[in-house]
Every structure is written in structure tokens, then in C-alpha cells.
């Protein structure tokens, strides 16, 4: 930490959250209603609250703080609500429809659905203008750029009131000259308009992905630019000494200038802080393989981090838009406490993806919800305290939950309510287990090598059963689980992704190794230079490399990670062996004698930001009985036999005490269910460690 405080601000749809940590490890959370018309109003209001609480003027706090902003909803909402700017596309003549053809595919799941609509076009056909000039796959120019066509197109864009221009030509990734010239022409002829080109935004092979990514970036960047300039101005006015940093979908921070030009890197930043948060929780245990799950009211987000490195996804459809740039791989499921249990057309029990949300919410909230949810099932199963008062206002109504499960599930299926409630819980767990499989097993990672970290208020009631299903033997739930992801943002580093395409045989030719080493070094240098400009010293900068490799003739690659930017002869052989292993793990076979080739390489450059310290819990000399607040009947299996299990108050629990399941620990914002056969202890790092086994 360079300053006295780290201040994180997360502008959500309803509330803007503020989280502030000081040098002593005190972390405090504040909330202020969001002001979408001008985000700075909410920030001023929040700063006033913080100033009050700390007894210092806001300007003094700001001047002594690292500032991290998550503007996730700015880009994301603009995309969802189609509130981006009017974009014109300059593209290779003959290929102006690639954005609309979308590879000719209709999404799975809708094969025979006559009413499933085509994807929305961010650029209508008349604003996609064909530009003559052609580069070949090896980078040679086949036909010179038709500058007259560009001038004519820009005239049309001016008449049409276009606010941003995207440029994407075929093979600009092997020869960016045409795009560079087009960029210059746009800047000259339409100086007021935002412009970006595919070779800068996503310099990788695959024209459709690159064009789509560039278009999305053009559509959102001017919106982001307006947001960033307001925020930057506000903090400058308040006397901030360092530029404000913004959270990106790659799990890292970036400065405002970068953000204003690359809004596409921020579209899924919401859940992207989970890996950092999970690692932070696991670090005191010496663990750097974590699967972090965040379970709130409506969704369940899963991320996987291995050896401190988090899975990325790229070239994926996001809200039906193809996005190339790497984002933290987040598996998002419609599986939260509010997910609704119902019988589908075929009379089968299904949980989610529909959610009762906050309003009307679960039946047991008594706010008008009629359909039973996961939370209702948890209440019936005894995991939730029927006398609890949520958020100070909502009293849980177990009778209503019981009745709803009877009416909507148990009765039509001809089973008991207990069985139905347990079934709802089982099914939602199954969805989550499948999701965890997708980020682990299906990526070739064995979940048993990972610790499972719970974030979000609802996770603690499901985690152990998930761990049991996956064979995971370490579950960690921090006391602050419900605010863990917000916390993750202020402990994140500044991080940029540098991408390059480099088709190269991975054979015995030493010259090829040299080419790779050279390119790795050049990516590293670009990234380091950018971070130096952000004010980082060289010894605060780390680089991680990912190489995308395939068998000659394949089109999809396996990603192999690399910690060094210089391969010696042994490293070169190891790299190839690592690829074969990866292929085998993912697809059940490898071809050790087939030729392999490198396709793309990526470098993540990380500017390390020293995280705030965590407080350490001190024992107060209490014993377990003193934390015991009661007992109630709970159900832990499908037998329908109730178990009378103790309930502990987390606030009164001393560290290092061991609680054997079955039991429930109640924290102010989360509940932790310990089924029979598991035990839990609160560690001094303010995290519950749950492990299987009966003994100490």
C-alpha cells in the first residue's frame, strides 16, 4: 500500500458500494444509492459518509488514497440496454456481412424454436462500408488500399451522424498497414469521432472475432470515456495525487486513458475480482489453487485459479456478441438463493434459471413471492434460522415456505415436503457442480487439487455438499463472505494483456525458438513500458505468458502457460511436452508424434499493488459452549430423518475451536452449514476452514 487508504468504489445498478481499507487492516463498507445520470453524485454522497465515519475531510482521505473504481455497469448496461453510440464500420470489400452472418450458426438450444430472434446488430448493414484493398494470409499486399472508398464512406458516416468508427480489414493481424492508413484518414477527416482498429484492439487471427470485438469497443468506448472523464475530473478536483484506476474483465486495474479507448476490456468486470479475493483468503493457508464461488440472490459465479493464475476465456459469445479479448473465465449460472423451483412442461422438477430476485423474493420473505425458491428450501431444511431477521426488516416465514413447496413441488410429484426441499437443494447443487466441472474437469484440472472458497451470502449453505460431490477436501469461508468480491477489487493489481499472433512450427529448428524468444521479449517490453508510464518500478512488475498451441491442421488451440520469457533448449522441449499433456487431459488422447505449431501468444503484465494487511483474530478465552446459541432440527440426506443439530453464533466463536458436524454457524450476513462427517474451525485469519473427518 502506497497510501494510508485504499478506496474501492463499485457503481452497481442500485447501489454504489464503497470499501475502504487502512494500513492497520481495518476494512469498512458504505453504500449510497446509485445515480446513473451522473455517477459522480453517488460518489460525492459516499465520500461524505466516509468522511463522517473517519472524522476527516473527504479531500484529505482522497489525497491519501489509492483509488479503484469498478464502472462495470457503465459498459455492461450500455451493451444490455443498447445505449452505446452510433458506429460505422470500415471493412474489407466483400466481407461487410461477416458481422451479421455470425458464422452462419443458430445458438444451440433453439434449434426448432420458430420465435427465437436473430442477434441484434450493433452496426446496421448500411453503415458497414466495403473498402477495397487486400492483404493475404502471409501479410503480402495483394491489392492497394482504396482511399477514395474510405473518404466516401466517411462522408456517409458524417451525414448519418456516426459517433464512432470501427476499422477491421482481413489479415490486418499479419500486416496492419491498411488499417493504420485508414485510422489516419478517420482522424484527419472526422476528428471528433472515436476510432479504433482491429489490429490494435484484438491482434489475433479470426476476422469475425476481431471485427466483432472492434465494433463492440467502438460502440462502448465513447460512453466509457464520458464516465471516466467525469470521475477523473471529480477526483482531480478533490486533490487526488494519483490517477484513478478502473477495474477490467481480466481481473486487473487499468488507468482511465486506457479504459476510454478499450471499453471492451471492461464489459464483464463485475465477477472478475473473485479470483483475487479467493487467493487472498487462501494465502494464509499456503494455498494457491482455488475455485472461488460467489452465490448471491440470483446468480452463481465460478472462477478457477491455479498456481495463482486464473483461467481466461477469449473468443466467446457474451450477450450474443463475439468478444475476443481475454476475460477472467467466469461460469455464471442462474442459481442463487432466489432461484425458483418449478415443474417444467414434462412435469420434471427444475430449479432456476428464473429467479424471484429481491422482489418479490422467496416465499418466506412474505413480500408477495408465491413460488418456492432455494432459500425457502434451505429454511425448511433447517439451515436458516426461522427466527432470523434479515437486513433488520424481513422476518422469515417457515410455514409459508413449507406450504409453497408442498403446493408447487411435493404434491404434484407425490413426495413429501422434506423430500421435495432436499430435492430442490440437490438440484441447485447439481447445477453448481456441473458449473464447477466446466471450469475444472472440462479444462483438464482435477478439482481435488483445489480449495473451494465461498463468497456471497448464500454460499455457506451449499459449499460442503458441493465439495463432497467433487471430492474437494478444503473449504474456506471468510467471515466477510458476503462482501468478498468488493474487497477483491481493492486488493487487485494493475494488469494489461498484450497479444500477438505468431504462426510458428514447434520443431527442432533453433531459429524458431529464437523467433519465439524475440516475440516474447517484445510483448514483455510493450507491457512493461505501459506500466512504467503508470508509475510502476521495474521490480514491481511481473509477466506471465500464455502460448496457444495446436497440432498442425487443427484450428483450435490448447493454452500452455509459461513463466519465463526466454526458452532454452530444455524449455523448448518441455513446452512441447506440456502441450501434449494438456491435449490428453482435455480430450482423452494426444498424438506425441504429430507436428505441432504455435499460433498466438499472450503476455499478462502485472503491476503489483501491495494489498492492505488483514486483521488477525485473537482468542478471547471463550469455549465452544459459550458460542452455542441453540439447536434445531435439520435435514442432511434424502432419508427424511431429522437431526437435532447445534447452532453457533459466529460472533462469539473464538479462533482455533473445532466444531463437528452436524451444526450451523450463524454470522451476521452468512450461514455456514456443516453436515455430518465434516468439521469446521475459525482460523485467526477470520476465515472458517471446513474439512472432512470427525477428529481434531
Amino acid at each position: 500500500m502506497k497510501h494510508d487508504y485504499r478506496l474501492g468504489i463499485d457503481a452497481g445498478g442500485t447501489f454504489t458500494d464503497f470499501i475502504i481499507a487502512d494500513r492497520e487492516g481495518r476494512v469498512r463498507l458504505f453504500k449510497s444509492p446509485s445515480t446513473p445520470e451522473d455517477g459522480t453524485k453517488a460518489i460525492r454522497a459516499g465520500l461524505a459518509q466516509i468522511a463522517d465515519a473517519l472524522g476527516k475531510p473527504a479531500a484529505e482521505i482522497v489525497a491519501n488514497a489509492d483509488l479503484c473504481i469498478n464502472g462495470t455497469t457503465v459498459a455492461l448496461n450500455a451493451l444490455i440496454e443498447r445505449q452505446g453510440v452510433k458506429v460505422g464500420l470500415l471493412c474489407s470489400a466483400g466481407h461487410e456481412d461477416s458481422l451479421e452472418i455470425r458464422l452462419g450458426h443458430k445458438e444451440d438450444g433453439y434449434r426448432y424454436d420458430p420465435e427465437y430472434p436473430p442477434a441484434h446488430m450493433l452496426v446496421p448493414r448500411h453503415l458497414r462500408r466495403p473498402i477495397g484493398g487486400r492483404i493475404l494470409s502471409d501479410g503480402r499486399e495483394r491489392e492497394p488500399l482504396d482511399e477514395a472508398a474510405i473518404r466516401e464512406a466517411l462522408g456517409y458516416f458524417r451525414d448519418q451522424g456516426v459517433e464512432a468508427v470501427a476499422i477491421s480489414f482481413l489479415w490486418s493481424v499479419t500486416n496492419p498497414d491498411h488499417e493504420a492508413r485508414a485510422l489516419a484518414l478517420v482522424r484527419e477527416l472526422l476528428p471528433e469521432v472515436f476510432v479504433c482498429a482491429g489490429s490494435e484492439v484484438y491482434p489475433q487471427v479470426r476476422e469475425y472475432t476481431r471485427t466483432s470485438t472492434t465494433v463492440v469497443n467502438a460502440y462502448l468506448s465513447p460512453v466509457m470515456q464520458r464516465y471516466v472523464s467525469r470521475i477523473d475530473a471529480l477526483f482531480e478536483e478533490l486533490g487526488a495525487r494519483h490517477p484513478v484506476q478502473y477495474f477490467q474483465s481480466n481481473g486487473g486495474l487499468a488507468q482511465g486513458k486506457m479504459m476510454s479507448e478499450r471499453a471492451v476490456t471492461a464489459i464483464n468486470s463485475g465477477p472478475a475480482s473473485a479470483p483475487q479475493a479467493g487467493l487472498h483468503v487462501a494465502r494464509p493457508f499456503g494455498i494457491d489453487n482455488v475455485i472461488t464461488v460467489d452465490m448471491g440472490g440470483t446468480s452463481f459465479d465460478i472462477t478457477l485459479t491455479r498456481g495463482g493464475q486464473t483461467n481466461f476465456s477469449k473468443d466467446v459469445d457474451f450477450l450474443r456478441y463475439r468478444i475476443g479479448v481475454p476475460m477472467i473465465q467466469v461460469e455464471t449460472l442462474g442459481a442463487g438463493g432466489g432461484s425458483i423451483a418449478h415443474l417444467n412442461d414434462q412435469g420434471m422438477l427444475q430449479v432456476g434459471p428464473r429467479s424471484a430476485g429481491a422482489t418479490p423474493g422467496p416465499v418466506c420473505y412474505g413480500k408477495g413471492g408465491q413460488e418456492p425458491t432455494v432459500t425457502d428450501a434451505n429454511l425448511v431444511l433447517g439451515y436458516l434460522n426461522p427466527d432470523a431477521v434479515l437486513g433488520g426488516t424481513v422476518c422469515l416465514d417457515r410455514e409459508a415456505a413449507y406450504q409453497a413447496i408442498y403446493d408447487k413441488v411435493a404434491k404434484p410429484l407425490g413426495i413429501s415436503v422434506e423430500r421435495a426441499a432436499f430435492g430442490i437443494s440437490t438440484l441447485v447443487n447439481l447445477n453448481m457442480v456441473n458449473g464447477i466441472r466446466r471450469v475444472s474437469v472440462e479444462q483438464g484440472y482435477d478439482p481435488r487439487d483445489f480449495a473451494l472458497i465461498g463468497a456471497g451470502g448464500a454460499a455457506g449453505m451449499h459449499l460442503v455438499r458441493l465439495a463432497d460431490e467433487m471430492g474437494i477436501r478444503q473449504v474456506l469461508v471468510p467471515k466477510v463472505a458476503s462482501g468478498l468480491c468488493a474487497f477483491g477489487q481493492i486488493i487487485s493489481n494493475v494488469q494489461y494483456e498484450k497479444l500477438s499472433s505468431l504462426p510458428l512450427p514447434l520443431d527442432e529448428d533453433e531459429a524458431h525458438r529464437d523467433v519465439l524468444n524475440e516475440r516474447l521479449a517484445s510483448l514483455r517490453d510493450q507491457g512493461v513500458e505501459q506500466l512504467r508510464q503508470d508509475g510502476f518500478e521495474r521490480n514491481e512488475i511481473d509477466c506471465h505468458y500464455r502460448l496457444e498451441i495446436r497440432y498442425l491442421g487443427q484450428i483450435h488451440e490448447c493454452t500452455v502457460e509459461l513463466q519465463s520469457d526466454r526458452l532454452d533448449a530444455q524449455g523448448w522441449q518441455d513446452l512441447k511436452a506440456a502441450f501434449h499433456d494438456r491435449h490428453e487431459a482435455l480430450y482423452s488422447y494426444s498424438e506425441p508424434h504429430s507436428a505441432i505449431e504455435l499460433v498466438n501468444l499472450e503476455c499478462s503484465v502485472v503491476g503489483w499493488v501491495a494489498p492492505p494487511q488483514m486483521p488477525e483474530l485473537a482468542p478471547r478465552g471463550l469455549d465452544l459452549e459459550q458460542a452455542r446459541k441453540g439447536q434445531r432440527d435439520m435435514l442432511f440426506d434424502e432419508s427424511g430423518d431429522w437431526t437435532l443439530a447445534p447452532v453457533y453464533d459466529g460472533e462469539k466463536l473464538d479462533p482455533d475451536l473445532c466444531i463437528r458436524g452436524p451444526a450451523v454457524i450463524e454470522e451476521p450476513t452468512t450461514n455456514i452449514v456443516i453436515p455430518p462427517g465434516w468439521r469446521a474451525s475459525l482460523t485467526r485469519a477470520a476465515t472458517y476452514l471446513l474439512t472432512p473427518g470427525e477428529g481434531e
Binding site: R111, Y112, L170, T209, M348, L413, L427, Q554, H556, Y587
Partner: protein, 581 residues
């Protein structure tokens, strides 16, 4: 009420879907040919021990119907002679395969010594031997002249890879490395599926899983019966025209007779005698055509299993006819032609039976295979079907314009065209144009989706181009009163553009040699429209003009919308035109 516990049922269903999905992912990620890795011209399914299909993926409809009889034929061939670790391969239509270029792998899944499942993976290889690269020989008069027939054969026996047999197969194929890579990909897919199924059996045990599967099939049966019950009892007929795409026998006609009684439906197909041209369909393939027509009526969401078809009986007509072909009928083109016409016939019969569920037809495939020697790679032979060439327009539905470029009918959106850069990287070609074709969408109150224009120039070599399919003489069939006036742009076409810029157009399946500096242009038809085009809102027609999807001439002829040379709507003339009808 079933005896199986409803929770376990849902769990089993989810696990099956995961297994199938992972198989598909494996094929996509590991396939060597563009047909696999870019175009997704493959399909995966799971069968139980009977063997009945218990889950078909979101894959290609042309593959999935035929898998049902093919699996039974293959299992029947071996009888008791199936052991753990066996992997069976097959493509032959005599054992209910589709066309021989579609090679199918079947892996029995044993659990504690008992055969419980089959993981099945069918894929379109890029070559299967024979005189013409890519397996489509328009000159074949017999199936023997089309390529290598593979009756059921074990590639792995009790876990041991039979190099001799695999070598025999690959020796008969062009671009052998690519074919071998795809074969490995299929093997990977079958194994990945097996891995998931074994985990399921481990968790729940054979008896529970079998009971759950029986119930899933029973539920599908109830679902289809309840749909059929809503159709009034009666006999419904659909006739579809099959254009002469090169055999010289003139247009042919396929008739579907759909007979509904209570909750059962019988489908009887009537087609002319088989012809000495590659458009004959053996029974397995025809099954796909009929079931696709049925599903266009049923419009059911996934998942799909064989229980859906228990209430359906199908008679393909006498052996020796176009839709129930027998040896030695040539058949390479059958998965598109005549299958799409067959599907149309069934769809039209259901249009009579259930007018509220009907949608327009999708563009039929008229595409190309390409082959040659790649000068960039030491003149290695390359050969592939260019799936981008068959992406046609989708049909309009009651509520919605057809999707652009989502066909052809036989693939129903499951295919992918492939990224242009990846195609240019994989093959020595320059793709000058891949885009939508103006005025190609069928006219209707709801417009059909646009077809595609693919224009390829071979780089530094002579490229063989083999055309297949149809849809070059009649526009795609619309529905509910749709009609086309401007016909020409709605047709598929094959054009050879010569070095001097002159063009030769073909409306049949030609084989062309394209030299450097020349181009081949393949145009695919748009989808059919829905409803009277003169009732299409004027502003939507104007919007289509702005976006270049409909020309001013198209607006006038097809939609009765008059726009002046300066782009202004002539309200009065439009009113008169539309009144006159």
C-alpha cells in the same frame, strides 16, 4: 407416476446432457479438417443397451435421424460379439448410414462387465476415396463409383488399436493425415462421453440409471403424443418438387402422406424409382429427412430422445425408389438432395394438418467441394467441402422474418460457415466475397432470410470444384400465401468467372477446373417468405432497401412498394400497386 425418484431423474438427465455436450466440444476443438473444426459437420448421440437413442445433441439434423436405425443395424451385425474396449466404425448406407462420406464411430460403454451405453459420433470426413475428391461424384451411376464403403468394422478390439484396419481405411482416402486426425478426434469424443457416463453409473448404479432413462423416454413419448392429439384425425398430403440438378430426367416429385389417428401418426413416403445419379437416399438417410419435417411441426425444445418417435410409424415406400434406395444406387448427394425435398413434403403435409405451427422452408443446399495441391505446403493434396458455400437463408415464421444465412434446411442452423481467415489459412484460396445476396430472401409479410454469395480464387494452383445440391431453378417454398415475383435473385447459382471477366453460369451440378486468376462463385438461395408480401409494413420494406437487402425493383415487384429514383416513397403509387394485388 413412474417409480423413479424425480430428483434422480433430473440428475441423470443433466449428466447425459453434459456427456453429450463434452463430446461435441472435443470434436470441435481437436478436429483437423475445416469440416469438423470450423463447420461443425458432425453429430453426437448417446444410446442405451437396447440400443435406443437416449440423447441427441444440438447437432446436424441430417445425421441424427439416421443414427437411430444405423445404431441398431451395427449392433445387430455383431450380436453378442461386442466386448469392452471395442470401437466400431461404419459408413455404409446398406447398414442405414447416411452417405459414405459421413463416417460414424460407435463405442460400447461397459460398466462392471455389462454393456450399458453406446457413445456415438458421426462426422463428415473430407474424403472417402473414389474417383472424385471429397466424395461427391456427379457422374457416378452406381454407389461403387463413389468411394469406400465401410460396413461395420472394429477399429479397436478389446482396447487394442487395429493398425491394419485403420491403415486400410486411410490408404483409401485423400489427404490421409487430415482424415487420421479427424478419426482420432472422433475417438476422443467417444472416450470423453464414456468418461462422463461411467462417472454417472458409479454414482447412481446401473439399475437406477436405467430406470431413469426408461422414464425419460416415456416422458418424451407423452410429449409427442400430446402434440399429435391436438391435430385433427385425418389424412394430409404434401407434395414437393425436386428439380433436375443434372441427371436429365426432368423434375421429380416426392409425396408425404401423413395420417393422424388420435395420438399416433403414420407417415408414408411416395417417391419415383431411383435414378442413376447421386441423389438417391437409402432408408437411414431418409429417416433424417422425415424426422426433420416432423420436428419443424413439433418445435420442441431439447433434449431429444427416441421416445419422441414411439407414436410415429414411417414407411419410406417400396425398395428401389428415390427415398428408399437399394444397391447399387449412387447416393453421395443424399444428405441435402433429395433429403431437403423429402423434408419439405413432410412439412407441407403438416401445413395441412396444423396450419398454425407451420413455417416457410429454408433454402436448400447448393454448394461446392474443392480440391487441389497446396503450393504453400509442398503441393500436399487438400480436399474439403466448403460449408460456407451451403449457408442459405432461413424460412420466415408467423412472427418473424427468416434469419439471414442460417441454412441449409437439412442443417437447420447447426452448421458453421467458418472464419474467412481460418479458411484462407487452411487452404490456398482467396475469398473475395462472402456476403448476403440482395433480393434473395423469399417475399412475404415476413421476409425469408437472405442467402449467401461465396466467391473464391485459387492461389497459384488449379482448383477442382465439384458442385452438389439443387435450389438453382425454383425459389425456396414459402408458406401461408407467400409469393415471389422477382425470381432470379432468389435462386442458387454456380458461376465460373474466367480470367477475362466473362462468366459461365450453371444450374446443375458441374465439375469445374478453376485456374489462378479465375474465380468460382457459389450462390445459395434465401429462405421462404411467410404470408402475403403486399401486407408487409411499408417501413420494413424501406428499411430493407436502406440496408441493401431488397432493391427498389424488388420492392416494387415483390412488395408493391414504389420508391422513386431519388429514394422517396411514392405513397400514392404504392397504394395503387398494393390494391391491384
Amino acid at each position: 407416476m413412474s417409480t423413479i425418484d424425480p430428483i434422480t431423474l433430473a440428475v441423470v438427465r443433466g449428466a447425459l446432457e453434459t456427456a453429450q455436450r463434452e463430446m461435441t466440444l472435443t470434436l470441435e476443438k481437436t478436429g483437423r479438417s475445416s469440416v469438423f473444426n470450423l463447420a461443425h459437420d458432425y453429430s453426437n448421440a448417446l444410446f442405451d443397451h437396447l440400443p435406443e437413442m437416449i440423447l441427441q445433441g444440438q447437432d446436424i439434423p441430417i445425421h441424427l435421424g439416421s443414427l437411430i436405425p444405423a445404431m441398431k443395424a451395427v449392433a445387430g451385425f455383431y450380436g453378442e460379439d461386442i466386448a469392452e474396449g471395442d470401437v466400431i466404425y461404419h459408413n455404409d448406407p446398406a447398414y442405414k448410414g447416411s452417405h459414405i462420406i459421413d463416417c460414424c464411430m460407435y463405442k460400447p460403454v461397459f460398466f462392471r462387465g455389462e454393456l450399458v451405453f453406446w457413445t456415438v459420433c458421426k462426422g463428415h470426413l473430407t474424403d472417402i476415396g473414389g474417383p472424385v475428391p471429397a466424395g461427391y461424384n456427379p457422374d457416378a451411376k452406381e454407389i461403387y463409383a463413389e468411394g469406400l464403403r465401410i460396413p461395420p468394422v472394429k477399429l479397436w478390439e478389446k482396447g487394442k488399436r487395429r493398425e491394419d484396419v485403420i491403415n486400410l481405411l486411410l490408404t483409401n482416402m485423400r489427404a490421409r493425415e487430415s482424415q487420421e486426425g479427424d478419426l482420432n478426434a472422433q475417438y476422443g469424443a467417444c472416450r470423453v462421453g464414456e468418461r462422463h457416463l461411467l462417472a454417472l453409473l458409479e454414482r447412481y448404479g446401473v439399475d437406477t440409471v436405467k430406470a431413469a432413462i426408461a422414464e425419460l423416454k416415456a416422458m418424451a413419448d407423452r410429449q409427442m403424443r400430446s402434440l399429435i392429439r391436438q391435430v385433427p384425425d385425418g389424412d394430409y398430403f404434401g407434395k414437393a418438387r425436386l428439380e433436375d440438378s443434372g441427371h436429365g430426367l426432368g423434375d421429380l416429385e416426392i409425396t408425404a402422406h401423413v395420417s393422424v389417428r388420435n395420438d399416433e401418426v403414420a407417415i408414408h413416403i411416395d417417391s419415383p424409382p431411383q435414378v442413376p445419379y447421386f441423389i438417391n437416399s437409402y432408408e437411414g438417410n431418409s429417416m433424417s429427412g422425415v424426422l426433420l419435417g416432423l420436428m419443424m411441426f413439433a418445435q420442441l425444445p431439447p433434449p431429444y430422445n427416441e421416445g419422441l418417435y414411439r407414436c410415429v410409424s414411417i414407411d419410406m415406400g417400396p425398395p428401389g425408389t428415390l427415398c428408399n434406395a437399394t444397391e447399387p444406387a449412387p447416393h453421395a448427394n443424399c444428405t441435402t438432395t433429395p433429403m431437403e425435398t423429402l423434408t419439405d413434403a413432410v412439412r407441407l403435409a403438416f401445413e395441412q394438418a396444423a396450419p398454425d405451427r407451420v413455417s416457410a422452408s429454408w433454402g436448400h443446399a447448393s454448394g461446392i467441394n474443392i480440391a487441389g495441391k497446396d503450393p504453400r505446403r509442398g503441393d500436399d493434396q487438400y480436399v474439403t467441402m466448403v460449408l460456407a458455400s451451403i449457408i442459405s437463408g432461413a424460412g420466415a415464421t408467423r412472427g418473424m422474418d427468416g434469419w439471414h444465412s442460417r441454412g441449409p434446411l437439412c442443417c437447420f442452423g447447426a452448421l458453421m460457415s467458418g472464419d474467412i481467415e481460418l479458411l484462407e489459412y487452411s487452404y490456398p484460396i482467396l475469398i473475395h466475397r462472402y456476403g448476403l445476396v440482395p433480393d434473395s430472401g423469399g417475399a412475404g409479410e415476413r421476409r425469408g432470410g437472405s442467402g449467401t454469395w461465396l466467391e473464391i480464387e485459387p492461389l497459384d494452383h488449379v482448383m477442382t470444384t465439384v458442385a452438389f445440391g439443387e435450389g438453382r431453378q425454383y425459389p425456396t417454398a414459402g408458406a401461408a400465401g407467400a409469393r415471389n415475383t422477382l425470381i432470379e435473385p432468389k435462386l442458387g447459382r454456380l458461376v465460373h468467372r474466367h480470367g477475362d471477366g466473362s462468366e459461365t453460369a450453371y444450374d446443375h451440378n458441374a465439375m469445374l477446373e478453376i485456374a489462378p486468376g479465375e474465380r468460382v462463385i457459389n450462390i445459395n438461395p434465401g429462405g421462404g417468405g411467410f404470408g402475403d408480401p403486399f401486407t408487409r409494413p411499408v417501413e420494413e420494406v424501406l428499411d430493407d432497401i436502406t440496408n441493401g437487402l431488397v432493391s427498389r425493383e424488388g420492392a416494387r415487384l415483390d412488395y408493391g412498394v414504389i420508391v422513386t429514383a431519388s429514394g422517396e416513397l411514392d405513397i400514392e403509387a404504392t397504394h395503387q400497386q398494393r390494391q391491384a394485388g
